[in-house]
Symmetry: C2
């Protein structure tokens, strides 16, 4: 039995996962199929069942990747702030910045919430995500304030994505200021 060298290409796997998120963003979990993902990732259909045991595994891993990416950027943005004022501004950014609370990210979050409700492993992922966000906030605020801010970020982001006339940056800033 020579050197095992189990070397299946992680690149392809990663590309499929990324494509899965693209497809979910465009068609929803309901419209996500092996074929569509394969087309989006530009891999043959056979690759799907080769790399992933089934639809569940595919979606679970894709959503886990999403949580990692998003919470990573969340933490980065907050870590970049040094003063309390900076931290407040970072929070405002996380709510109103078009490059963060993008329609795509919001959409994927909704799909994740819905999917995780019926998928125990993903519930764990979401709990970890939430805890990581709070930890990032705790670098600048008290534990209590961190919890409230976390909830407000969530709620305002959602409402802004629905509202026909979303709150302006100044309004959001006023709300954040009021909370700290």
């Amino acid at each position: 039995m020579p050197s095992p060298k189990r070397r299946y290409d992680p690149d392809r796997r990663a590309r499929i996962l990324q494509a899965t998120l693209d497809v979910v963003a465009e068609h929803g979990v309901a419209g996500t199929t092996h074929r569509r993902v394969a087309a989006a990732a530009d891999v043959p259909l056979g690759s799907m069942t080769y790399h992933f045991a089934g639809m569940d595994e595919l979606l679970t891993e894709a959503f886990t990747l999403l949580a990692d990416q998003v919470s990573g950027r969340f933490t980065e943005r907050l870590a970049a702030a040094s003063t309390l004022d900076d931290a407040c501004e970072a929070v405002v950014d996380l709510i109103v910045d078009e490059s963060w609370a993008t329609p795509r990210n919001m959409l994927l979050s909704y799909e994740l919430y819905a999917y995780a409700a019926r998928n125990p492993p993903l519930r764990g992922v979401m709990q970890a995500w939430m805890e990581k966000s709070r930890a990032a906030l705790r670098q600048h605020f008290t534990a209590e304030t961190a919890k409230v801010l976390d909830a407000v970020i969530e709620g305002l982001s959602i409402h802004r994505s629905v509202d026909a006339h979303p709150a302006t940056r100044e309004e959001v800033r006023a709300i954040v200021r009021r909370l700290v």
Copy 2:
């Protein structure tokens, strides 16, 4: 041409819509099929296409019904409050009360958010829902506070549904007090 008397039974239609929500709650939009809904409503498959032009119409009407029911109860709960203290307690109830922020309601909300993102008519429904909630809050609080409370209710409800150790009623009360 005698009296038109178009009398097709609205009962059956309503029952199908209710069953649709049940099926969505149990299997998600992704797992909702005409056959499953028909079985849940105890009607023949043919009734599906007879009463609803297609899956889209079915889901759109079902989610619209959900929004009406939920926002109705939201408004009722707040209208029952007479003093400011009562109003605060009502808000706390809306967040922590097991009969309101039920797993089922949260789950259906997530599915609705995700679905509405790709369904323009439902976006209007959601905007109306949000506006109605804010109006109910404005009976007791200023417009600004109403907006924040609305967002906090949303965010805290979601986080409570994810959190392994959700905030207690007292903690939530403290947060609400802090905001008004």
